[in-house]
Symmetry: C2
Subunit: 267 residues, 2 copies
């Protein structure tokens, strides 16, 4: 389903939704979806998790921990469980309604041969149960095995989020790799900074205003145009001074990244 092929469907019916999973993603999605649509069932293999989430929706009786009890009466089934459990769940549940998983890594084909209408309903965010999140700000990436299925899932995502985009499995993979750079590797840079500062009785919290400003900057400027620092300026005397203060892995990282930045900007 390419960008631009989406056409808004004009059915305004409230959808009945079955949520399979009661973890972080399932919890935030269930709460958001239950506003304009109707969550009719929550499944978790851990009974207390299913009941906790059902209770949070004010519907304690819609919880189940038995896959044989999965309703045949929902319009949409959202599978939000650990990646490696998806195939098993898909293979032993009824083929009713539209089935979609919420994983960034699992191909849509996991449903093939088991569910006639299927797709992916992927929210690009890191979730934890405690943190309140504004779901409307989370981008959703949608895939469907037919235009109609895609449209229904798009509409569902659009009922809870301002940003909905099509993404086939390749695009989801790109998003995942980009997130590794932009979040996982970024966090590792902060770990390096924090540990350097702690050797001097400081810590990363002193850099916080600087980190916030660095993030603010890229809301109006492309990151490649926002680059600053000694390597951006080609200031080799500062770079060498810094390298002489570092050792081990921090020196290795500093050296590689400074060289890459200098190569890019000093051509």
């Amino acid at each position: 389903m390419g960008a631009g092929t989406y056409q808004r469907v004009d059915t305004t019916t409230v959808k009945k939704i079955c949520i399979i999973g009661a973890g972080n993603v399932a919890t935030h999605l269930a709460r958001a979806l239950d506003r304009e649509n109707e969550v009719v069932q929550i499944y978790s293999q851990t009974p207390t998790h299913a009941y906790e989430l059902s209770n949070a929706l004010g519907k304690p009786d819609i919880a189940t921990d038995n896959l044989n009890e999965i309703t045949r009466d929902a319009d949409i089934y959202i599978v939000s469980v650990r990646d490696d459990i998806i195939p098993q769940i898909v293979s032993i549940t009824p083929d009713n309604g539209i089935w979609a998983h919420t994983s960034g890594s699992v191909p849509m084909d996991v449903f093939k041969g088991h569910k006639t209408r299927h797709g992916v309903f992927y929210p690009l965010q890191t979730f934890s149960k405690q943190t309140e999140l504004d779901v409307s700000k989370i981008p959703f990436f949608i895939e469907g095995n037919s235009q109609a299925t895609y449209n229904t899932l798009y509409k569902l995502a659009n009922s809870i989020s301002d940003t909905v985009e099509p993404a086939d499995s390749n695009r989801r993979k790109t998003l995942h790799i980009a997130a590794v750079f932009a979040c996982n590797f970024v966090n590792y840079m902060w770990t390096e900074a924090d540990e350097l500062l702690r050797q001097d009785g400081l810590n990363i919290s002193y850099l916080r205003p600087l980190l916030e400003e660095t993030l603010n900057k890229i809301s109006s400027v492309r990151p490649c145009d926002a680059q600053t620092g000694p390597a951006r300026r080609g200031d080799t005397s500062i770079i060498n001074e810094h390298l002489s203060q570092l050792d081990g892995e921090s020196k290795e990282i500093y050296n590689l990244l400074s060289n890459l930045i200098m190569n890019r900007y000093q051509r």
Copy 2:
């Protein structure tokens, strides 16, 4: 001047301040300092810059572009100019009051032999003239060549900021290196992510909620405890899949950082 040696001085006199420089840092400092103290002069080698800043303070007549006109009547002289110009300015101006520069990289000794009372007044933030900044949230790092000088500069910083810390030249260097990791290298990770996404018709803005949440996390958790991602989990099949999608410098970065993260967490 070590941490903990500071004692609050009980002089409540308003200080007369001469600001040497009219760039980004000078502009934000002058505005903030002129509230509880009195900026009596603004020098810039570019006349329009000096007048612009003086005007912004409502005092058009305190601007000068002539170093021979630097007042002998200020209590504190804040030198906020490009690092390489500091020595020249220091050598040809009067030895009155306390002199301090705002640079993260220049040793305090740059004043030695020229100014009897001197120090460093270093705000750890990235400044641009357009962006409004809450100066009270910016950490200031202070050094002084005597306890009395340190105290006066500390008090001045404390009049505009909630966070003031002692930092000798070594500590400032550590802060600078940490900022290179936490800001410059982080921005470079965002550049890599942005460019990967653009190949697929997306861009870094789709990751923004994720970036904000990643930054939020480290306000309550140390970065080393906030690490997530394939390398943190030791998920080599995802890592290899990602590496097969990448080439050139993005592959090199992905490979190095994934190995370092795996080494740290999978021991």
